[in-house]
Amino acid sequence: MSKLLITPSPHVTKQHSTNMLMFAMICALVPTAMYGVVVFGVRALLIIGLSVVSAYLFEVLFNLLKNRKVEWIDMSSVVTGFILGLTLPVNVPVYVPIIGSFIAIVIFKGCFGGIGKNLFNPAGAARLVLGFIFTGLALSMFTGTALGENVASPLAYFAKGEFSAITIRSLFFGNVAGAIGTVSIICILVAGIVLMSFKITDFIMPVGAVITFIAITWALSGATAIVPFLFSGSFLFVTMFMLPDPTTSPNTVWGKFCYGLIFGVVASLFRVYNILGENSVFMALVFMNILAPLLDKIFAPHPLGVKRGA
């Protein structure tokens, strides 16, 4: 004991880190992606791979350019790329995921100050922008399913009120047109619940979102619309994986709950009136991201033992 080490307390920290949380997220997304590949073919793998690799490279390049510290093992940009890839349909041109990653990583993350400082969920915001640039993403380009035909997105039927055009069974098992990762409801649900039970993502926000989504949809379109709406249009994917993103959601428990509730309301309104097609859930997400700092302010905790207004 020649030299004692001194450090300030606490001398232990929990055995988890940002990268580990992100890695767990990736693991949870893998089954969803695999299901997507099975349903849509190998091209799905190409789209996801392109968006993951380009997201990672953009992150590294941007940090080099800005003279920020480069984290070589950076799982968070991988997650962003992964999620972005999963929200794209399989038959997009190959440059779409690359442009998407650029928008997500450089514009919506890097320019806001890097990890933890972004106002919008990078993947969600990038997907929304892509949806506006390539208008086909919203509706007609969702083709090519396991059925092998050109099928329009279920949303097109639902907009006309034809809820029985697509069976709930095929919605649940992903036998519909849609984005790579968002059609397999079963994988999303399982992965989401596993993540929540290991406390990797928050459970308050998804619960709140689902509650109000069901309530508003019921009120506006009747009970028959609930399940088709819930299982289509990326709603569950966004609610499980993108809404509880730590950076862009509020910090306090009540803030989170309200965040979830309002997200459910906004998303169902957009969906019921079919304003933006497949983009509507992402629009709702971006809208909520703007509200998050406000909710943080409203639900800011008050320290105990300190006089109010002092």
Partner: protein, 512 residues
Amino acid sequence: MEIRGVKLKKQVRYSKGNGFFVLREPDYFSVPLLADDGEKPQRVVNVGDMVKEGTPIAKPVGRYGSFVYSPTSGKVIGVVTKLNASGNECEHVVISRDLENAKDYLPAMAEEDMNHEPLLRRLYQSGMVDNFAPYDPAYKKYLLRCQIKSLVINCTEDDPYKSSDSALIETYMSEVVEGAKLLKIVARAEKLTFIFTSKQKKLAGVLKKYIKQLNEQKRIRVKIYPNVYPLHDSRLMAYYETGKMVPEGSRTAPTSAIIESPSNCYDFYNAVKKNLPCIQKAVTVSGKNCLRKANYFIKNGTSIEHILSIVGTKEEYEENMLIYGGIMSGIAQETLDISATLTASCILFVNRDEYSRDNETACINCGKCVECCPVRIHVKNLDDAIVNREFSKAKKLGVEACIGCGACSYICPAKRYLAQRISFAKDIVQGNFGKSANSSEFAQIEQNVASNDEDEIKVEKKENFVSPQAGAEGSKPAVDEMIEQIKEDREKEKSKDTKFKIIDATGGGKNE
């Protein structure tokens, strides 16, 4: 009342359930005359005086001082000024032990004296200190004239390594309960509440049974709290019990609850029934570098070096740590030349695998720190304010409410140095920067990290910063010299009188 905090994994496999060991007494004690930051008592012995076990060596000054008693019988061989375990400079009385074992305890108390006034006086005389922050003399919180509903005995051991309170209750249950009842008379409280965590359910059951035997279920209650960290803070405990929070640095009496520790109950029982002044403390000695992990009764003024020589280290390499106090809120010491005092709860000899040193990464805004803060500080915003050196904003965000528990740093996935930075900012806001050990240590780290903004704080840092090393090293030769002296004296004594056998027994301490 919502109890917030973090869940920690208990590390008491070895130290638990073995009762208590008595540490072999060292050849010399160096008793600090200041346990923590408090009012300095006045020394009443001089170099050369003979003292007995229990002779007062310092008396209180001012209204809130406290007595300090000699832990052994022997001769005062010196008075040195060095740092105590909390990084405060104070006088240490060095006493060399002789083999006479002469005792000089408090006067006996009569049966009819078992009411408020005489017991409060005995509490004052006993020299007990509070085991929960702030480390006042124990009697201080009983002086406030408030209606006390319940005296709360906080048996929760929230620190992962601590098991001394459980062991004390297990081994000396009747004494602890009796002492608690005596303290209840001092507090004039209506009820007595023992609080355990869900990890201690078995012990709580045994205690419940014992209380049933005494037929006092109505007046003594046993409560189980969830197993979270922190529960050790008395203000927080009073808040959980009564729903009222007192401001930082105040006593909890206005909330109608007084918080006491089981070890103080035991000490008070000894002070009243056995007339023993408070000279020892039940301490958990543990850590991977400690061979004999156990609970010990350690006398006030025993040097850590001596404890280490008995419990032994496994390995000797750099980057070991000595932590005085629990692993979550204890103070890492720079030298082994530190005395254990009555405020110790744990002494940990920690090696490289046990503590975590991670580099800070960027905050991902997850809000985990906000959720776990027991006093509901918006830790993330506060941290941002401190990083930007906005101390007035930090004050507004309640930096002074922080109890320094470290739960936020523990939980943060980005490994931010939250609690460290907050305690540093708290000291700056309250104007006592450099006085508490934790903030000084953090200042050292800050200096190494070298932030690129120059401002007045840095200047202040240089001026007020007390390096623990300077004081400790400056005083070390004095002690060393004296020890040499003692050894020489001993040798002479030995050769003079062979009737005495110096019992340098087992080295392990005996089981009680």
